[in-house]
Symmetry: C2
Subunit: 333 residues, 2 copies
């Protein structure tokens, strides 16, 4: 298709195939890709470290120079931040995103922003069975039923994907920040042990990247063991190696994730399936499948049958946020 | 407009003004109305007791005979039941709703069903300031921001209303059945006192028509008082009269409602406002406004500012479900 090549003059490329720029801008890295008008698959995915650049535009210009002489028409940028109007401020890097400036500097006709979990939700209908593993032995969900993606990472992303006529509409807010539903006195005592300065123990507080460490040290505090400095990655590694305290913490983490995921699924009516995203869970898919995740998901009282009919999946493929940005452009964002 | 009258022959009426039938079918009564094509306001609202009829069609035929010689074109029926395909079974009365049968028996071109809380959500954009009272001193919300309706009744209805292009899309599942987020040991003990046979204490269990009775008797059990047979209506009446045990129970009820409403608002990103529906809360609007409802709604840790910016309203007007059925027809359901 000549995107890389220099064999055609620039204007021929533009006329023959319209390409759009897509990006997945996280807290550390930004991924860029190109997508042909109307197509689902991002091409020429490249990753850049944010701290090598003074601005998003600069990184984008570097990417476009690298992939060859091509002028994208539009752009869809998935950002790991809430999207409440513009400019979008990425405080970590002092970057500011503003569509008119991006259009001017990158020669684009239109720039749209989407939250990264909204983008991941938009990618769900394009997932192949090789892009995911099913957690629990269940069906395939209701066709065109509402889907839901939940992703533990720096935060806890939560986004529904609702069918609206021929389009898919991402629906989200700040769902990670709901109060966690402790059920027993022991659980409340654990919540109080992990709460720290926070007045409210939210789902995100327990389930984001730091949540597993909090649960591990909360369990230690309750049972009189000494708190240790151990990362979430180490806890999950040692759990897979059979360390009992780590197994206990990781099982609790998976069970709490299942409880919360089931509640989100009830609220959205996610009969089309619940998808778990983010890098953390990909470290222990078999442990997750054997954990109390699914029994907690199903434990919904009179709505138990409703919950049991909802399939749950772990997204194993990477870069799916970029696919979602492509989907958003394709359905005429 | 001649809907009542007999002065015009039938066919003239049909040609001059197209009317549609709307209905709000609850567990005890059914309300019917007519709405002119493209209009927002239901006319000729009439209520019928379900147990006077053997079927929904029979009640509808009685209504249509009463309002005069008019053949509605379509119908939108709001039903107090989950809508998962047809037929819709209303087990209380053995009624079964099936669109092809209704079309045939009532001479309609099309019949659509909508859940009653989806219909109430669809009515939100048409609410006038006289149709609601604001709980807490807040702004008017984000224009076209997602709205949310929550209604304690026989169950606990929860439905978001999301802007999709030029349309409003109701988004709901079984949100009333999420686990209630107890935060303290005392609250967990109260949950265990009210749980009864249920393995899970859901939001609905605490907040539906029976929830106030459960909380009242749960508080009695914890403090060693004897359980008494008292209805939710009596508890709220006696709370307004200053009975301390009733005041305590009703304050707890309102606070728990606020906590749950705030969590739903975070999940949907309900920046357009949260609306409380159903008949129960209309019995004590001033008590609700003075209760911990809003402080619990706002108590969302790092998302406190986000929650505080969301206005909350009590819907005081009646028959708004019928308005929502009209809205659904108007936007071409």
């Amino acid at each position: 298709m000549g995107v890389h090549g220099h064999c055609h003059p620039r204007q021929v490329l533009v006329v023959a195939d319209t390409y759009h720029l897509v990006a997945d801008l996280g807290g550390t890295n930004v991924r860029f890709a190109l997508v042909q008008e109307g197509k689902a698959v991002p091409e020429h995915v490249e990753k850049f470290a944010n701290n090598n650049y003074d601005s998003f535009e600069e990184a984008a210009q570097d990417y476009l120079a690298k992939v060859g002489p091509l002028q994208p028409d539009k752009a869809c940028i998935a950002v790991a931040a809430p999207i409440h109007g513009e400019p979008i401020n990425l405080t970590n890097y002092g970057w500011q995103l503003w569509a008119p400036a991006l259009c001017r500097q990158l020669g684009l006709r239109e720039v749209v922003f989407v939250n990264d979990y909204q983008a991941l939700a938009l990618a769900l209908p394009d997932l192949e069975s090789s892009d995911r593993v099913q957690i629990g032995n269940h069906g395939c969900g209701v066709k065109h039923g509402t889907r839901l993606v939940i992703g533990p990472g720096t935060g806890l992303g939560v986004c529904g994907l609702v069918r609206a006529g021929e389009h898919n509409l991402p629906v989200s807010g700040e769902g990670g920040h709901i109060s966690f539903a402790a059920r027993t006195v022991q659980e409340v005592e654990l919540m109080q042990a992990v709460a720290g300065e926070s007045s409210v123990v939210s789902a995100e507080w327990l389930l984001n990247g730091k949540g597993l460490e909090r649960l591990y040290n909360g369990l230690a505090a309750i049972s009189g063991r000494q708190a240790v400095s151990i990362s979430a990655r180490e806890i999950s590694q040692q759990a897979l190696a059979g360390n009992l305290a780590c197994v206990e913490a990781l099982n609790l983490y998976c069970g709490f994730l299942g409880r919360v995921a089931g509640d989100y699924a009830l609220i959205f009516g996610a009969t089309g399936g619940v998808y778990l995203g983010g890098g953390i869970l990909r470290r222990f898919p078999e442990f997750l499948a054997a954990s109390p995740f699914r029994s907690e998901f199903d434990d919904k009282g009179v709505m138990g049958d409703y919950a049991r009919a909802i399939p749950t999946f772990l997204i194993t493929a990477r870069h799916k946020t970029l696919w979602g940005a492509c989907a958003w452009l394709r359905q005429g964002a």
